[in-house]
């Protein structure tokens, strides 16, 4: 079976000799909704970048839909953590259309089908009425939703989201996760997040990464996570409340209230 993502023995990082990720083995099944959690600097974003083909592995193999990362153009939708180019003169519609880039070669204009896909996904995210607005005029939450619409406009089979709910309020967050659960019926989702409490009732599997893969499964072994974070960590798995109190002081990476 061709898996969306199949990683074995992966080490990766930015400086030679200093891998951020070490010896990662991870298989993501078709139709999975994976929450990727772990402390800051633990390598969550680095892992996404490897899958996206932005960083080459130092060792190990990575296969995305059976091909090298970067070769599977068009099958991955990506929602970045950073909102790019604030103060860049571009409209919401133009940004959403960028999701269609892989489907149209160089020298080609966007087609009516592209516009339809863009506006459809803006509508899905509840920001279609802003289509003609410049991105600059939007709130953080609205921008984030446009970027998600952009990712979906490319009709991906695998959606990677890097902390997408970070700048969104509680209520929007809930409807957003409901939307992801709905999308998950058709596509595989990987969601990097700090707030495992908020997503736990939506996701199918949880992987915890702190330079190595601490755990990956349908539930989260509480002690393993507490060890990975090294601080009190509050979480809910699959609707069943667990309180995990680690050893150290502070609550830097704790999730929201259950």
């Amino acid at each position: 079976m061709i898996l969306p993502v199949k990683i074995s023995g992966l080490s990766a990082g930015y400086r030679p000799g200093h891998p951020v990720l070490k010896d990662i083995d991870l298989e993501i099944m078709p139709g999975d909704f994976l929450a990727l959690i772990g402390p800051n600097g633990g390598g969550k974003t680095t892992l996404l970048k490897v899958i996206l083909g932005l960083i080459r592995p130092m060792s190990g193999t990575v296969r995305v839909f059976g091909r090298s990362p970067g070769d599977e153009t068009g099958r991955i939708g990506y929602v970045p953590q950073m909102i790019p180019g604030a103060t860049f003169p571009v409209t919401v519609m133009e940004v959403a259309l960028m999701g269609r880039l892989g489907l149209r070669g160089m020298w080609r204009r966007y087609t009516p089908a592209d516009r339809l896909a863009a506006i459809h996904n803006l509508h899905l995210l509840g920001v279609a009425d802003l289509a003609a607005e410049p991105m600059d005029n939007l709130s953080g939450g609205q921008r984030q939703r446009v970027l998600i619409a952009r990712a979906l406009a490319g009709e991906p089979d695998l959606l990677l989201l890097d902390e997408p709910a970070a700048s969104v309020d509680q209520k929007t967050q809930e409807s957003f996760f409901n939307l992801l659960a709905l999308l998950n019926k058709k596509l595989t989702i990987v969601l990097v997040t700090h707030d495992v409490g908020a997503v736990s009732s939506y996701v199918r599997t949880i992987a915890c990464i702190n330079r190595v893969l601490v755990s990956h499964g349908e539930t989260l072994p509480a002690e393993a996570v507490a060890r990975a974070y090294g601080c009190p960590f509050e979480l809910v798995t699959h609707g069943v409340p667990h309180r995990v109190i680690g050893s150290a002081e502070g609550s830097g990476d704790s999730g929201g209230e259950p």
Binding site: L52, G53, L54, T73, G74, I76, Y78, P80, P84, G85, F88, P89, V90, T91, E94, V95, L97, M98, G99, L101, G102, R104, M106, W107, R109, Y110, E133, P134, D136, R150, G154
Partner: protein, 265 residues
């Protein structure tokens, strides 16, 4: 005033203004939104190295300038991207200074005075030749063809290069096209109107247009219109006041820039 238009040099100056405005508006917009306004200065100054080299070797000055300005633009791009990740402004400063120093040395090695080089510094709209106009027109055509054809890629790469790459856009190629076009436009404009005017017209109209438009296409059109209005207005004013047109145009541009900021706030 009107009778001035019957002079061939004035007609040439007007045509040159129109041709320059198109290139400035389109490429200047990309330069400004990519936050590379300093690149204009770096490429323009570094190209003196090329002028000096051409002078030394007895080549046409334009050839030397094109060579070195392309090298500068693409070099800045290469050094500040990929794994090297130098700050772009640092790379620009290095090329800027090195190119100028090289130019000076080359001229010294050849010996004598190089009057041609001075015209590149303070080129004048009033001495534009037919050949210059043909070259500028051809360059405009190239700019419109490439920017028009690659508009969605140029927009996407300028806005979010990483995402574009993930979507299969050849970002390095698109960036190189942008940088090479920028270099060509700068050399052409230097030949027509001199170094200082290049810096003003590549950045100020686009910067003002950015304040009042919400998309790149409109920003390009508005900057072209502004560049043209500044050039023609400056030419007319300079004629009436009997002042050097380049300096008048730049002063007008500067005034527009500061007034726009005041109006916008």
């Amino acid at each position: 005033m009107i009778e001035a238009l019957s002079y061939a040099w004035m007609q040439n100056a007007v045509v040159a203004s129109i041709l320059s405005a198109i290139a400035c508006g389109v490429i200047g917009t990309l330069v400004v939104v990519n936050r590379m306004s300093t690149l204009t200065g770096a490429v323009a100054h570094a190209s003196f190295g090329g002028l000096g080299l051409a002078y030394l070797l007895g080549m046409p000055p334009m050839a030397g300038a094109v060579l070195v300005s392309m090298g500068t633009a693409l070099g800045v791009g290469a050094i500040s991207s990929g794994t090297r990740r130098e700050y772009p402004d640092t790379a620009m400063a290095a090329f800027w200074a090195t190119g100028m120093a090289a130019g000076l040395i080359f001229v010294r090695l050849r010996g004598g005075y190089a009057p041609d080089l001075m015209s590149w510094l303070f080129g004048s709209l009033l001495t534009v030749s037919r050949t210059d106009l043909v070259l500028a027109g051809s360059l405009d055509l190239l700019v419109l063809l490439l920017v028009g054809g690659l508009f969605k890629e140029l927009t996407a790469v300028s806005y979010d290069s990483e995402f574009s790459r993930i979507r299969g856009v050849r970002t390095a190629l698109i960036r190189s096209v942008f940088l090479a076009l920028t270099a060509l436009v700068i050399v052409m404009l230097m030949k027509i109107s001199g170094l200082i005017m290049v810096m003003a017209l590549m950045t100020i109209p686009a910067a003002v247009a950015r304040m009042f438009t919400k998309g790149l296409r409109r920003m390009m059109i508005l900057s072209s219109i502004l560049a043209l209005a500044l050039s023609l207005g400056g030419l007319a004013l300079a004629y009436v006041l009997d002042l050097p047109p380049g300096a008048v145009i730049i002063l007008l541009a500067g005034a527009l820039y500061f007034i726009s900021h005041i109006v916008k706030n």
